[in-house]
Amino acid sequence: MRAFWGSQLEFFLVTLLNSLSYGLLLFMLSSGLTLIFSMMGVLNFAHASFYMLGAYFAYQTGAYIGFWPALFIAPILVGILGAVTERYGLRTVHKFGHVAELLFTFGLAYVIEEVVHLVWGRAPVDYRVPESLDFTLFTLFTTQYPAYRAFMMLISVGMLISLFLLLTRTRVGMVVQASLTHPDMVEALGHNVPRVFMMVFAGGCALAGLAGVLGGNMFITEPGMAFAVGSIVFVVVVFGGMGSLAGAFVASLIIGTLQTFSVALDFSMLGVLGAIGISVSEDSNWYGLWSITISQTAPVLPYLLMVLMLIVRPRGLMGTRES
């Protein structure tokens, strides 16, 4: 019995740690998306594509000069690409309105995925955790906790703190922050210069790139990764409330936890019913429904949560602006 509870505790703690590192990674993505959206009113559909590029750039540069320089170079490269995108793409379509901007980033996501196919092929690339971080940090009961996961959290938290300091302690940060709550005022003060836009866009993309560098080797680096993570990040942003950084943070952790736990839980209603002494015949029409495990529902849960949120509170967890 004690062994049973021990293993449950172990499962719980390990999954919680994994949730935290995944949630922080989500926040790195959603914070950039939120900043760009709040400043420019543009929902960057290609945001997850920049995340993917971060992973691929890190893989490529890492192959020549190692992981550590790549950790810095890849996000910078992605940031530069973001700046170019803003300067020569978004700024051109800006006059056609937000729908055109959104469609532009949508088309860009399409093109980036194809370019990745073109350059790195369709199969996953061998982007690995660096050897210097490929060891067990500690052992929890029987689970060996990888050092890289802890490193991911460290970088995420470091990023979080620098972002906070940047936003609250620097002039540029003030402008950006003010535009979250009072976009009209900032505009009226003459701060709404294209350069700030370009910088915010580049910065947001660089954050996504950094998330890619960290997430790419933790999970998998393949052309489908942008698609897989992109819509989750959208859910996070809608759930947290569009334009709210705090909302994005809380939502990242909630969605991260939800996803990590639901994937790991192998219960089904059938099992629950069985435990309380009800059995469902395999011939029953509902057998299929009862036998769905929680882990099978995992892909649906975040979206379900978002829909529920929209019904109960259309502006999201901490959103202030209606549209």
Binding site: V93, F104, F106, V111, H117, V300, L304, V307, L310
Partner: protein, 417 residues
């Protein structure tokens, strides 16, 4: 003036109908026929999408949900017909798909249309993801990875029509395509259709003339769901299989591209887009692996330089055409086309060479030529062609601009602008 209007429209639709009837005579052969069938389905789907984007200003990234659910329901109903559990003619299956799409439009639309603009776009995407993920969960209805197969001849032969031969399926699609086109055009001419435009342009003002914008959006969503489901039903009959991909995000994205490339500002735009994109997909995909890239770039170019799509290029030239000034534009257009072709050739050559991942001695087929992808000469030629093409094309564009500047005063004075 109203009756005259009516008559010309009647003539117009009759001409379209005759055109549809004649099509298989012009494009015979299995490939052409199946492509025409695909185009018919795409036209209905793209038009139904534009009821949202073009007419109501709702940028949806999840329209394939309604198409797909209509398709799945139809597959089941056809199978039930095959098992003699119910009776319903195959000819009217699109109504089954349509009603399914409408029902889901009503239910899901209630959630999505509470917001407009960018939040709507995101929510539509989220709902689409939810449905797509559910599709893999509820295997009884969606058939899991394999999807649901069906047999379109299940209804037996009626008046000599079994829907076995593709030609019969084509005429079924063409008939419903015509019905769909007329139906959707008719919606634009109703109070709801007009108020959808009003809500698109200025939702706040729509409130102050007595309309609830949320209700207008919801109703348009429901109607668009109907026509999307109708298209889905036709797809089921055409392919005899429906998989979860049918309602996935790629399919939803595809219809965005079709509508936008064709032009969302005109009723006819998505039709042009559906035909063009369907053709492009099957034509390009047989020649090159990079077709999705070309496709994406085409989309970006249209957004950057002609956000009204292909239809807008036509309307742009209407005044010049009426003022008989087209001949003044054509020489510069010819120049731009020639240099543009050069640039495009160079670009395609570069991309194809990149895609080949060629080492030395790897032969790549480029425009019918066998070239060595590993040789520097090939690369220099391709890149050179591209760069020279860019320079020349930009030079040619100057003439286009000048030609327009020259005719603009005349257009204004002739009063057509």
């Amino acid at each position: 003036m109203t009756p005259v209007f009516h008559k010309t429209r009647l003539i117009f639709w009759s001409v379209v109908a005759i055109f549809f009837v004649m099509l298989p005579f012009g494009f015979s052969g299995g490939f052409a026929l199946s492509m025409l069938s695909q185009m018919g389905i795409a036209i209905i789907f793209a038009l139904s999408y534009n009821m949202l984007l073009g007419q109501t200003g709702l940028l949806s990234f999840g329209h394939a949900v309604y198409f797909g659910l209509g398709a799945f329901m139809t597959a089941h109903v056809i199978n039930w017909v095959g098992e003699d559990r119910i009776w319903w003619p195959i000819t009217f299956m699109p109504l089954v798909g349509g009603l399914t799409g409408m029902l889901f439009g009503l239910v899901l639309g209630f959630v999505t249309t509470r917001r407009a603009g960018t939040p709507f776009a995101m929510i539509s995407l989220g709902i689409a993801e939810m449905v797509a993920a559910s599709a893999l969960m509820f295997t009884t209805f969606f058939g899991g990875e394999g999807g649901i197969a069906t047999d379109r001849t299940a209804g037996g032969t009626m008046f000599g029509i079994s829907y076995g031969p593709q030609i019969q399926v084509f005429y079924l699609i063409a008939g419903w395509c015509l019905v769909g086109m007329i139906g959707m055009f008719a919606v634009t001419q109703t109070p709801l259709g007009r108020m959808a435009n009003a809500v698109r342009d200025n939702p706040e003002r729509a409130k102050f003339v007595g309309y609830n914008p949320t209700r207008v959006r919801w109703l348009m969503m429901t109607l668009a769901g109907f026509f999307a489901g109708m298209a889905g039903a036709l797809a089921t009959i055409n392919y005899e299989i429906v998989t979860a991909e049918t309602l996935g995000l790629v399919a939803s994205g595809n219809v965005v591209l079709m509508a936008f490339i064709g032009g969302i500002g005109h009723f006819w735009g998505p039709i042009v887009g559906a035909v063009f994109v369907t053709w492009l997909q099957s034509a390009l995909s047989t020649y090159t692996q990079a077709w999705l890239l070309y496709f994406g770039l085409l989309f970006l170019i249209i957004i950057l330089f002609s956000p009204g799509g292909m239809a807008n290029l036509v309307t742009l030239h209407k005044p010049a055409w009426h003022a008989r000034l087209m001949k003044r534009l054509l020489p510069s257009y010819a120049l731009a086309a020639a240099t543009g072709a050069l640039m495009l050739t160079g670009f395609v050559a570069v991309i194809e060479l990149l895609y080949s991942h060629g080492g030395s001695g790897d032969m790549v087929s480029l425009f019918g030529l066998r070239v060595d992808a590993g040789s520097a000469v090939t690369w220099v030629a391709a890149v050179g062609l591209f760069v020279v093409g860019i320079v020349l094309f930009r030079w040619a564009l100057k003439y286009v601009r000048r030609a327009w500047e020259e005719i603009t005063p005349q257009l204004q004075s002739s009063g057509v602008v």
